[in-house]
Symmetry: D2
Amino acid sequence: MQVGFIGLGHMGAGMAANLLRAAHEVTVFNRSADKRRPLLELGARAAATVADACTEETVITMLADDAALRQVALAEGGIVSTLRAGGTHVSMSTVSVALTRELTAAHEHARQRLIAAPVFGRPEMAAAGKLFIVAAGAAEALRKCQPLFEAMGQRTFPFGAEPAAASLVKLTGNFLIAATIETLGEALALVGKAGIDPAGFVELMTSTLFPAPAYRTYGTLIVERKFQPAGFAAPLGQKDVRLLLAAAEALHVSMPVASLVNDRLHRLIAQGGEKLDWSAISQLAAEDAGLRRTGGS
Amino acid sequence: MQVGFIGLGHMGAGMAANLLRAAHEVTVFNRSADKRRPLLELGARAAATVADACTEETVITMLADDAALRQVALAEGGIVSTLRAGGTHVSMSTVSVALTRELTAAHEHARQRLIAAPVFGRPEMAAAGKLFIVAAGAAEALRKCQPLFEAMGQRTFPFGAEPAAASLVKLTGNFLIAATIETLGEALALVGKAGIDPAGFVELMTSTLFPAPAYRTYGTLIVERKFQPAGFAAPLGQKDVRLLLAAAEALHVSMPVASLVNDRLHRLIAQGGEKLDWSAISQLAAEDAGLRRTGGS
Amino acid sequence: MQVGFIGLGHMGAGMAANLLRAAHEVTVFNRSADKRRPLLELGARAAATVADACTEETVITMLADDAALRQVALAEGGIVSTLRAGGTHVSMSTVSVALTRELTAAHEHARQRLIAAPVFGRPEMAAAGKLFIVAAGAAEALRKCQPLFEAMGQRTFPFGAEPAAASLVKLTGNFLIAATIETLGEALALVGKAGIDPAGFVELMTSTLFPAPAYRTYGTLIVERKFQPAGFAAPLGQKDVRLLLAAAEALHVSMPVASLVNDRLHRLIAQGGEKLDWSAISQLAAEDAGLRRTGGS
Amino acid sequence: MQVGFIGLGHMGAGMAANLLRAAHEVTVFNRSADKRRPLLELGARAAATVADACTEETVITMLADDAALRQVALAEGGIVSTLRAGGTHVSMSTVSVALTRELTAAHEHARQRLIAAPVFGRPEMAAAGKLFIVAAGAAEALRKCQPLFEAMGQRTFPFGAEPAAASLVKLTGNFLIAATIETLGEALALVGKAGIDPAGFVELMTSTLFPAPAYRTYGTLIVERKFQPAGFAAPLGQKDVRLLLAAAEALHVSMPVASLVNDRLHRLIAQGGEKLDWSAISQLAAEDAGLRRTGGS
């Protein structure tokens, strides 16, 4: 397929590369031009502007946050104002439910279609084409995009015709991870203060009831207290939890664990931990137990 | 080995049967005598009293709670007063850290040894010999008991020489499960109120970041709202969370998620849910979101 | 003094009347014109537009929320674009810290001055000229406005030169009230379930350690469960707590009681209580204790 | 009246002195004998044992905690075993609901009567005869004790015939204070980080909606960060909150603010603050906001 790709950060670069490897024709755009080079070597065409990346029927965006996506999609010369009628915008960033709703309406008004398709997976998984893709939008458009998803991910999970659903599902998934970090932090503060080997506890739990990547990855990070360099920095984690809470509040849904995790992330940042991985909130329970200070302060 | 076995409930019955199948000689005791019959058919000998089950070097207990274990072990005619010097009491119940400490001292004073070896696993796993065993106590005693553990479980996780450590690890593991239930409850209240298919969300999460028995089992229970008959009734869950909090408070460790889960379980019970599975606390977030009342009230 | 007054709701009507009684010359504006009549009878002049109310040196606003104030102050034909250079806008609404900051900058750019002067007190207190006024802005402008404040309130509390400080102080004061409601709700759920007379408990506390209007007013409301008609409806309370949390999050300040109260208010609204007084969140602890359902659902 | 008085600590010494000043005949007992001297100078008789203080119809206890009261009342040679049939034990300590229930039964069994009459007030108030007394027990016994209460307090609040009610009311009152401390701590962390004068904020609130001793006393302590010497040390505060939560859990009443305050107190103690006043938990919100460390660690 012929496709535009906007946003060549840690995630987007790998995703675009996999599209090229799967023989799709990709026109790439990134605000800082140097990020394009490796893609050009793989056969991509360079777009000089957002509009240049919107000349085909389909354009993919993979951007840092609401502000970046809003600028690329809704500003003058952006996707909505330049994509052809009938064209499809595949929005793969983790953004607010409200923005996805706003984009849905804007594209509809311009007779275009929006697919929201945020992903689970770290940069290594993006590079390996092993992402999990959560996709929502018009069924026919989803079907057409399937070859693209197959090039970038190991499995696609459809969530109906309403793009906002995919954004909410992605944010809710991140909440499950944040809650896992907090829970492990409390558990390890307790066993640690009792003089029990934390690594043994994590080994036990991940060998029995919790043999899951989320527990293995974060259990190890917490036991080793390896919060730098940040895989996912605390302010980014806090932003996602805030987007989740905003979506929940709009529906009047109370989520006390999410509120707690939000408080923890603000505390971590206020105490000097903004460069740490968001899993450093696990150390706050240890600190409250009198065990230690986190490395970031 | 020759071994006494006290406590033939849902868990103990399967465990004793597996000892018999592995050719150990087992003398069983249970307060209500009719529970012994299936074991006798497998070759067990019946003990008329606790003391009768303590004639060998080793006696195993698998009882409902602190009160039952205290009665069997510390009352007149109980294990401590009847087991031979040098004998070993293998305490496999989920009980308080404080009681395990008290038992450790009492056995030491009587020149006996205590091994705490609580288990993870439901009755089916007990029947299948697939339990996970968390064991702590004197190294040599642990080694001697290994054939027993192998008959009852699929893997034994050692946690050092202090029996209380095993009790704390078990309670902390249960806390991880309780936190998982609460977190899933909040997440599913949100996606449910947003009109998203909860089963699809659970399928997504357990296929990607959380492919773990705890998430699969409880995710399914919550989606199907199948809280009766209770696999693990709310008052039992509340009791375990309280034992965890008691251990945490003794060490001045603050665990806000544990406090929240404790509050949830009390609320469930106060609102008429004492016969429901403890995973019914997941419905409280849904109820708070205006979605529904739990089936128990 | 000659002064414009915009916003003749439950609070503003009484405040403007008191200015007239104190012999100030008041030009009033309200979106729905019928609210002006009582004021005209007291000698006010009617303004046909916002701009008409901005012809004097000073204009006061007392509006429902951020959106209303934003419209009146920042839209075309609004205060910023029509007030004379050197004029003063006295903003007495309870609004977000962010909007007060934005207004401060807009007025400064237009060479005008902003005073933020939100108030504590119910409509009866506004009518009686007994409000407590929290005022912040340039010292000289505050001094000039003092006769106005004296006509409307019983005491003015200065909080420095930065208008945003007054908005934050007002929101934080409302948080203290919300926390009082929640705390009383939990306490009364406990004594109520124990079979103790709640009115006696409130009488005890307000006669001894807590002889304060906030405890007397809300203690009585809660004991009598008189949540309708709402003195301050749940959605308004929730909005203020959200504005508080937004200000706190901007500074990375974690406020767990505020998070809890926010969750409670969302729950009350989700369960059908949007017409109830915000103090109806006190019933949620009672409901959780199995005592009763709030009247609103 | 002729009365025994057991427990001459900070509170009891002043209370017994006021009984003597009101011309009651008081026989005093205290574990450490030197505390009796000032009372003897005021005309008290000294008792050599608990039993010696139980020779009259009425005996008052004012002890530190459950353990002390249990020892004095229930041990061999204690009140229950030595007080005459028809005699009255006036228990004025702050103790658990469970112990008051146990004492009620024990006295009933011995044909004696129990009145629970815990007090609100600091040592200065005890010395000045200005305590607030919360009294519950048989109506006739309460009536007989009224002259004693009048000598020690400024007002007596009756709470029915069940002594345990008075214990619960006292603990719940302490919870209101603890919640006030936490709430003020969060509020002052926010205004403090925003650069607003905390003393001005406390002055505002205690002049308007919260002109109450609890807010004035603790508002000042928090603003001045004067947590040493402790008026009420953190471990004592934690003990009372734990007794409250135990009573609440026994009734399946969830009290999230109480759980939070309990977590805060444990954290304060774990971080080295056991010698600080319990109001030092107010500093934890400030610490979480990145403002400072509490003086105790």
